[in-house]
């Protein structure tokens, strides 16, 4: 699992889509998963690189596409996948934190309309220093996690 995430992070870093905040947070390759019809929730993934010298944290997010946006993670315990809401995603100075399937994600709850691949979803990332960073995350069709390898 760790190896997969590492690989995934590598792929993300090579992606072209980068957005930089004033506080030195670089968002790489954000995307939102397209969901089946009638599905009311989705998740956004991205890489978050803290290029500043101070630790930062993501403490929330907002989007006009969903009623509620929360930060979530998955932990696997005794063979059970447990998804949990978390208050913050810590972004250590100089490091890249990857939000990827099976782990950290921005959860979109109560989608206001269907998500069509190719469309963009506006996401506002809220940092612990109060900075708000607006990004556009394209909607992508679900793919098996390792598809980037070929």
């Amino acid at each position: 699992m760790h190896a997969i995430r590492t690989l995934f992070a590598g792929v993300l870093l090579s992606g072209a889509s980068l957005t930089l905040s004033a506080a030195g947070l670089e968002v790489g390759d954000p995307y939102v998963r397209a969901v089946p019809p009638g599905q009311s929730n989705s998740a956004a993934f991205m890489s978050l690189r803290n290029i500043s010298t101070e630790d930062q944290a993501l403490i929330g997010a907002e989007s006009p596409a969903a009623e509620t946006v929360e930060l979530h993670t998955h932990v696997e315990e005794n063979g059970l996948m447990r998804m949990r809401r978390i208050g913050r995603i810590v972004l250590p100075a100089g490091e890249t934190t990857t939000l990827a399937p099976g782990g950290l994600h921005v959860m979109l709850i109560g989608l206001k309309s269907e998500l069509t691949p190719g469309q963009n979803v506006e996401l506002t990332l809220i940092q612990d220093d109060g900075e708000r960073m607006v990004i556009q995350a394209p909607v992508r069709r679900l793919e098996p996690m390792h598809h980037a390898a070929h």
Binding site: H72, G79, M81, M83, G102, M107, L108, L142
Partner: protein, 203 residues
């Protein structure tokens, strides 16, 4: 919310060794009765509801059947597995695909009625059937297949409640025998190989 009682029932199926339980282990010399938690999944017949009416596993003899337990409000784990399964299905020969069915069993009958499930699974592949049942039926089926899940009420999330669940796929051969389980996020190639092994078509 009386269904919260299912959580207790179902927690009984939780086993860290779900996967390894399928391997015939050394015979236990212990004089103690085996814990229920350690009971290996045995598989077996069941009937659950689909939008097209009841589906009985024994009606699917002659086919390889993949069984996955999850819920449609699951934003990540279930779709990830269903996408991999769908990709495996698309890579089968037509004659193999004809003999392969996937059962997506929702353990969230409160939110997932058969009609909603039918729309959900059709997004992935036409050979996927969405099934659910009463909490008691689901508990029994899950236990037979070694699946575990529990409803979590107090998450502080707008989701209302979440369902922790195991994320493996059970593989049933054309004779109705549980022959293998595939772990979470198994790649499509692994799933395809398991289907072919079950069908006896090719490695």
């Amino acid at each position: 919310m009386k269904r919260s009682s299912i959580a207790i029932l179902l927690a009984a199926a939780v086993s860290a060794g779900i996967l390894s339980c399928l391997e015939p282990g050394p015979a236990s010399e212990s004089s103690q009765a085996p814990l229920e938690l350690a009971t290996p999944p045995t598989g077996g017949d069941f009937t659950l509801d689909s939008a097209a009416g009841p589906v009985r596993l024994s009606d699917l003899r002659g086919q390889a059947v993949l069984i996955y337990f999850g819920y449609t409000a699951c934003p990540d784990i279930c779709p990830t597995n269903l996408v991999s399964i769908a990709k495996a299905l698309r890579s089968l020969h037509p004659a193999e695909l004809d003999r392969t069915r996937v059962l997506f069993v929702s353990v969230d009958p409160e939110r997932d009625d058969p009609e909603h499930l039918a729309r959900y699974v059709a997004y992935f592949h036409p050979n996927v059937l969405g099934l659910t049942g009463t909490p008691e039926q689901l508990a029994q089926v899950a236990k037979r297949y070694g699946a575990a899940y529990q409803r979590v009420e107090d998450t502080g999330s707008a989701m209302g409640y979440l369902i922790d669940h195991s994320a493996f796929t059970a593989v049933v051969d054309p004779n109705g025998r549980l022959v293998q389980t595939l772990g979470h996020a198994s790649p499509p190639e692994t799933i395809r190989a398991a289907i072919r092994t079950a069908l006896g078509t090719e490695p």
